[in-house]
């Protein structure tokens, strides 16, 4: 089976591009895969944090599986919970913002390849398309915080906007350094260049990889940069007033960002499906790398404390951004490693 998506398209009698653009955002690497990953990652996060703090963590739902079904139970409860809309909120913005925010962010999954030939569409600027779609989410978070008309949500929204500006500049700088290194912004070509050279990007340009990882933590609101959600300070940030399905969407939004960014990291810096070229094995490789990276990201929660907003801003603008300039120089130095491969 050379290409499972093409085979599926033939079976259903639809054009291949249509099958691709439906399969990728909805099944893999899209929403279905994301749902499974999110359930697993949230469970793993709670379990790991509990182990570090010498607790048991989720247990009573399915004791034999270590409480792995706890999240499924939570999901069912949240799905049937009443959505409370407080009187002081701006109704339409309040309801629409989380829905739109999740949908816009999920669209990025159409460009990020989850394996050889497993992508929604391929563009010569795929890297930037994914970045641009991720960059739309902070605005909708601001709308959420504003619409809820509450002190905590407004402080959270102000933090989100300050933090996302700092994080996105660093993220874009590291992505552009990577694009300069490979000489292309097409994500499939990036992976192929790494496979042909036999060197993953993290070895060639560790500075850019480190910057990407740190900026991804900031954008996805992970500890030590979870200022937007700062539970001890501002309840749940911009998401304070949400309940039921809308709350689930806001929580999923942050995990979705983490999932997309870590899949991008796997493609751009870890060589994507590098040891394999078969669609199924390659997809499994990308998926495994993504999940491993997400586990590393959630593990940080149990070892780090939260940074202050001014510390984060000063760290990103005055320390990490100059480091990005070094990443550019490094990219220029290692470019011949990949440049020859693409030309040939």
């Amino acid at each position: 089976m050379a290409d499972p998506v093409a085979w599926l398209a033939g079976l259903l009698g639809v054009p291949v591009w249509l099958a691709r653009s439906v399969f990728a955002p909805l099944v893999y690497p899209g929403l279905l895969a994301f749902t499974v990953v999110a359930l697993f990652i949230i469970w793993a996060e709670r379990k790991i944090t509990a182990r570090v703090q010498m607790r048991v963590g989720p247990y009573y739902v399915s004791p034999r599986l270590g409480g792995a079904l706890q999240l499924l139970a939570d999901g069912v409860r949240i799905a049937f919970q009443e959505v409370i809309i407080p009187r002081q909120v701006e109704r339409y913005s309040f309801i629409l913002a989380p829905v739109l925010g999740f949908a816009v962010t999920a669209m990025a999954l159409a460009v990020v390849p989850g394996g050889p030939g497993v992508y929604g569409f391929r563009s010569s600027v795929g890297l930037l398309v994914a970045y641009a779609l991720l960059g739309l989410a902070p605005l909708l978070v601001v709308v959420m915080g504003w619409a809820a008309n509450n002190k905590f949500t407004q402080i959270g929204a102000a933090r989100e906007i300050l933090v996302s500006v700092a994080g996105e500049v660093t993220l874009l700088a590291s992505l552009l350094a990577a694009a300069m290194m490979y000489g292309t912004m097409d994500l499939v070509e990036i992976v192929e260049a790494q496979a042909a050279a036999g060197v993953p990007g993290i070895v060639a340009n560790p500075v850019a990889a480190l910057l990407f990882f740190i900026a991804a933590l900031l954008i996805a609101d992970r500890v030590p940069f979870d200022l937007v959600l700062g539970e001890q300070e501002i309840v749940q940030g911009p998401y304070t007033e949400y309940s039921g399905v809308l709350f689930a969407l806001t929580m999923a939004l942050d995990y979705l960002k983490l999932y997309i960014l870590m899949m991008l990291f796997a493609d751009v810096f870890l060589g994507g499906w590098m040891p394999f070229s078969d669609p199924l094995l390659g997809s499994a490789a990308v998926f495994a790398k993504t999940v491993a990276l997400m586990l590393a990201a959630v593990f940080l929660r149990s070892v780090y404390a939260r940074m202050r907003l001014d510390q984060v801003a000063s760290m990103f603008w005055s320390k990490l951004f100059p480091l990005a300039l070094i990443a550019f120089v490094l990219s220029a130095a290692v470019h011949p490693l990949y440049g020859g491969v693409l030309a040939g």
Partner: protein
């Protein structure tokens, strides 16, 4: 495929029109920001369908991701969203007329059956064109150097160091 493309053009142009009218008519600052995003996404979609893919993506990255976001910073930090502006029907009329006048050439073009021919401009072409002209290269270097010097000056300014030392008052 033809019908799909026509539908895509129609939807994008409708988004541009709705966004530009909404941005003028809206009574709260954050709604204005949202309508600007709608208009910008429409413009980006039209650019992308005409073949200027990377211009479209940069439009989203720079216009929405940076400019509109900074506008949102100002709105949030000044708290100017709480007082709605008075409702003025005349503004709606003006906005509709302006949007109609701006989109009329496209409409005429579309009705006459002539469709805009797609051009394919890739980043690589643009980069080669930029680097083959020495004046452009020099201007680019000067621009980047200026930004860097300004950034260093800002980072070392007394305001920045006082924020760092004093714990900051940024909410």
């Amino acid at each position: 495929m033809e019908a799909l493309e026509a539908l895509a053009y129609t939807v994008s142009l409708a988004a541009v029109a709705a966004g530009s009218i909404g941005a003028i008519v809206a009574r709260r600052s954050i709604h204005i920001v949202s309508w600007l995003v709608v208009a910008a996404l429409g413009v980006a979609a039209v650019l992308a369908m005409l073949g200027y893919t990377y211009v479209a993506v940069f439009h989203v990255v720079i216009y929405i991701g940076t400019a509109v976001t900074l506008f949102a910073v100002i709105v949030m930090l000044l708290g100017s969203g709480s007082e709605p502006r008075p409702w003025m029907p005349g503004r709606l009329l003006l906005a509709v007329m302006a949007a109609a006048a701006l989109q009329a050439p496209l409409l005429v073009q579309g009705l006459s059956g002539g469709r805009p021919g797609g051009v394919r401009v890739s980043v690589r072409d643009a980069g080669e064109a930029l680097l083959s002209c020495w004046l452009c290269t020099i201007l680019m270097v000067i621009a980047i150097a200026t930004v860097l010097v300004e950034a260093v000056a800002l980072a070392r300014s007394p305001a920045a160091s006082s924020t760092r030392a004093g714990g900051g008052s940024m909410r």
